[in-house]
C-alpha cells in the first residue's frame, strides 16, 4: 500500500550574503526589497489565481493562515489544478465523444424506426421529423419540413384541430394518445408526449409519434365484415333448420347431441333443451327386434337410411332416419347429421291406399263374376225347386235335387257376399251419415245374443259417452257384426270373453273388440284384411268379411288395426272421426 504525506511541504529559508561595503550594501538592500516586493506580487498573483481556480472547482478560497506564500508555492496548487483540469478536459472529451456517438445512434434509430416521429414546438412548427414521418404524412415534392407548421404539412389544415394531440399536450402538459386518426386515406394512432419545458414548467416542445395502423384497421374491418357474414349465414342456417319439417340432429363423435331443431324435438317427443348433450341411443325407445339400435350404431360409418319404431307418450311412431357423416375442414370426423321423418301416417296411408286399390280390383272382378254367375245359378236353383214339386221322382232323386238346390243357394249366398264386397270396394263418394256408435253396438249384440248365449261367450262392454261418429249406422253395424262373428268363430271351441269398448281420443273414436281366443299367428296378421283370405275350412268362409269391414271403415276415413298374441287373444281397434271435431 502506498501512502501519501498530507503535510504541506515547506521550502528552505533564502540566505542573504553580508555586504562588504555600505554603498554596495545599500544597493543590495534596495534590490532585495524590490525582489521581495516583486515576490510578494507574484505570490499574491498566484494565490488569487489559485483561489479563482479553487472556486471553479467548487470550494472556498485559501485562508492566509492556512498556507504562507512559501508553503503555497511549494504545494504548487496551480500545477495540481492544471493536472486535474487536464483530467476534467479528458473526461469532457470522452463525454462529448460518447454523446456524439449516442446522438448518431439516436438519429439512426430515429430514422430507422417504423413509426413517424416529429418534434414540434409550441408554435406548432416542426423542429425535426424522421424519414418515416415524411413517408407517411408529407407530400413527396415538399423538400423541407422543418420550420413548417405541423397542421399544414401533416393535416393539410390552416390551424391545429380540436382533435390535435399536440395541442392537448401543450395545454395539459400530459401525454395524449388518439387511438384512430384518418389522414391521407390511412389510419394512424398518434401519441403526443412532452419533450421540453421552460423554467415555468410549460411544455415548449412535444414529440409526436404516428403509428400507421391502416393494415390493422383494414384487417379489423375485414374481420368485422367476415363476422357479420358469418353471423348472417349462421342465422340463415338456423332459420332454415328451424323451418324444416324434418327433424334434424347434429351429434358429436361421442354420439351426443350438439344441435337440434324444433321438428326433431316434436318428433322425438321431448323439449329441445332435453335433447342437448344427450346420447343418441337414449333418445329413442326401440319397440321391435328389427329396431334394436343397429341402425343408429351403424350410422356413424357412412351415409345410411333406416327406419326405427320409437315409443312416444302418445303412441308408437315409425321414423325414417337418414344419417350423414360430418367432417371438419381437415376431413376429420366431428360427428354426423341425422334427419328424422315421422312416416307413421304416411305408411298407414300408403298401406290403406294399396289395400283399397287391391280391394277395388278384386271388387270389380267379383262384381263381374257375380253378375255372370247369378243368372245361371238362379236358373239352377229355380229349376231344382220346380223339379222338387213334381211327384215322379224317387226318394233318392229328390234328395239329389234337394242337394242341388241347397248348394245353389249356398253359392247364391257367396255371390251376394261378392256383390256386397264389390259395392263397398267401388268408390261411391263419402257417405256423410252420422250415428251413435254405442247404439249400433247394442243393436249388433241383440242380433247375436242367441248365438253368444249358445256358445257360452260372455260379452263385456265399456262404452264411454262419445259424440256421434261419421259413418252410416247400417254399415257400422255390419262391421261390428263381422268383427263379433270373427271372434265367435275364433272361440267356437274354447269359449271365452269378448270386451267391447269405445273411447274418444282427440277428434277420433276408438272402438275396440277384444277376445281372449287363440290369437292370430304373426305371419298372417298382415294378410287378414286381404279379400278371399281365410283360415276356415274350404266352403266355410268366403274370406271377404274383414276385407268388407276394412273397405267400409276406410271409406269413412277411418282405420282398423289388429293386435294379436298367440294364446292370449286378439284386439281389433276401429278408429273413426267424431262428428263434432270435423
Amino acid at each position: 500500500m502506498k501512502s501519501s504525506s498530507a503535510a504541506a511541504e515547506t521550502g528552505s529559508e533564502p540566505t542573504v550574503a553580508p555586504s562588504a561595503e555600505a554603498g554596495e550594501a545599500a544597493g543590495q538592500s534596495a534590490e532585495i526589497e524590490r525582489l521581495r516586493a516583486e515576490n510578494a506580487q507574484y505570490a499574491h498573483y498566484i494565490r488569487s489565481k489559485t483561489n479563482q481556480l479553487l472556486q471553479v472547482m467548487g470550494t472556498q478560497p485559501l485562508r492566509p493562515e492556512e498556507f504562507d506564500d512559501r508553503q503555497l508555492l511549494s504545494l504548487d496548487p496551480i500545477g495540481i489544478i492544471a493536472g486535474s483540469f487536464e483530467q476534467v478536459l479528458e473526461h469532457v472529451n470522452d463525454t462529448i465523444s460518447q454523446l456524439s456517438e449516442a446522438r448518431d445512434e439516436l438519429q439512426a434509430i430515429f430514422d430507422a424506426t417504423g413509426v413517424g416521429i416529429s418534434i414540434i414546438d409550441n408554435d406548432f412548427r416542426v423542429i425535426k421529423c424522421n424519414e418515416k414521418q415524411r413517408e407517411l404524412l408529407v407530400d413527396r415534392d415538399l423538400a423541407a419540413v422543418a420550420g413548417r407548421y405541423c397542421y399544414n404539412v401533416y393535416c393539410q389544415r390552416d390551424g391545429p384541430g380540436l382533435d390535435c394531440p399536440a395541442m392537448e399536450t401543450f395545454a395539459t402538459g400530459k401525454p395524449v394518445m388518439v387511438r384512430e386518426v384518418q389522414k391521407r386515406n390511412k389510419y394512424f394512432q398518434v401519441i403526443s408526449t412532452p419533450f421540453a419545458r421552460d423554467l415555468q414548467g410549460e411544455v415548449t416542445r412535444v414529440i409526436e409519434v404516428s403509428l400507421d395502423i391502416t393494415e390493422k384497421k383494414r384487417a379489423e374491418q375485414e374481420e368485422q365484415r367476415q363476422r357479420g357474414f358469418y353471423l348472417t349465414e349462421k342465422l340463415k342456417f338456423a332459420t332454415v333448420l328451424e323451418s324444416l319439417s324434418e327433424g334434424l340432429l347434429v351429434v358429436d363423435t361421442a354420439q351426443r347431441v350438439v344441435s337440434a331443431n324444433t321438428a326433431a324435438a316434436t318428433i322425438i317427443g321431448r323439449n329441445k333443451e332435453e335433447l342437448m348433450a344427450r346420447e343418441l341411443s337414449s333418445l329413442f325407445t326401440m319397440l321391435s327386434a328389427s329396431d334394436d339400435g343397429k341402425g343408429l350404431a351403424a350410422a356413424g360409418e357412412g351415409i345410411c337410411n333406416f327406419e326405427i319404431t320409437h315409443a312416444r307418450d302418445d303412441g308408437s311412431r315409425l321414423l325414417a332416419v337418414n344419417s350423414v357423416p360430418l367432417q371438419d375442414a381437415g376431413a376429420s370426423s366431428i360427428g354426423r347429421v341425422l334427419t328424422i321423418r315421422d312416416i307413421t301416417e304416411e305408411k298407414q296411408r300408403r298401406e290403406t291406399y294399396y289395400r283399397a286399390e287391391k280391394l277395388a280390383a278384386v271388387g270389380q272382378l267379383s262384381a263381374g263374376l257375380a253378375h255372370e254367375l247369378n243368372t245361371p245359378l238362379g236358373s239352377i236353383l229355380g229349376y231344382a225347386r220346380l223339379l222338387l214339386r213334381q211327384d215322379n221322382f224317387t226318394a233318392e232323386q229328390r234328395d239329389r235335387l234337394a242337394l242341388i238346390a241347397q248348394q245353389a243357394k249356398k253359392s247364391n249366398t257367396i255371390i251376394q257376399g261378392l256383390l256386397n264386397f264389390a259395392r263397398v270396394s267401388t268408390p261411391a263418394g263419402k257417405n256423410e251419415s252420422r250415428c251413435d256408435p254405442n247404439r249400433v253396438i247394442g243393436e249388433a249384440l241383440q242380433v247375436l245374443a242367441a248365438e253368444l248365449g249358445q256358445r257360452g261367450i260372455e260379452v263385456r262392454t265399456a262404452l264411454a259417452e262419445v259424440p256421434r261418429v261419421v259413418i252410416d249406422a247400417k254399415q257400422l253395424e255390419q262391421v261390428v257384426l263381422n268383427m263379433l262373428l270373427n271372434s265367435l268363430q275364433a272361440m267356437k271351441e274354447s269359449g271365452g270373453d269378448i270386451t267391447i269398448a269405445t273411447t274418444a281420443r282427440g277428434n277420433r273414436l276408438q272402438l275396440s273388440i277384444a277376445d281372449n281366443g287363440p290369437g292370430i299367428p304373426p305371419e298372417i296378421q298382415s294378410r287378414i284384411f286381404d279379400p278371399f283370405f281365410t283360415t276356415k275350412e274350404v266352403g266355410e268362409g268366403t274370406g271377404l268379411g274383414l276385407s268388407i269391414c276394412s273397405g267400409i271403415i276406410n271409406e269413412f276415413g277411418g282405420a282398423i288395426d289388429v293386435d294379436s298374441e298367440i294364446g292370449h287373444g286378439t284386439t281389433f281397434t276401429i278408429t273413426l272421426y267424431l262428428e263434432q271435431q270435423l
Binding site: S4, M57, H91
Partner: protein
C-alpha cells in the same frame, strides 16, 4: 473493487481547500492506476465539506465516488467511472 490496489490518503485534521488540493494532487499522481481501475483511492477525512468538494471534483474528472461514515471520520472511495 475487491482485487484492486487501495491507495490510502489520511487527511484527518485538515480542512478545505487544503484537503481538496491534497486529494487532487494524489489523484493526479495515481491517475493511470485509477483510470485503468487497477487501484482505488481511499481518503480519510474528518472535514465535512470535503465529503462534498472531493466527490464533485472527482466526478468532473470522470471518477465515481462513494462516501462512508466510519465512526469519527469519513471515508471517500474514489475509483474509475
Amino acid at each position: 473493487m475487491a482485487d484492486n490496489e487501495q491507495i490510502e490518503l489520511d487527511i484527518l485534521g485538515q480542512v478545505c481547500p487544503a484537503c481538496l488540493l491534497v486529494v487532487l494532487r494524489t489523484i493526479n499522481e495515481h491517475r493511470d492506476l485509477l483510470k485503468d481501475g487497477a487501484a482505488s483511492l481511499v481518503v480519510k477525512t474528518d472535514h465535512r465539506d470535503t465529503t462534498r468538494t472531493v466527490p464533485e471534483s472527482a466526478a468532473k474528472m470522470g471518477y465515481q465516488t462513494m462516501v462512508r461514515k466510519k465512526g469519527s471520520y469519513y471515508e471517500i472511495i474514489i475509483s474509475s467511472g
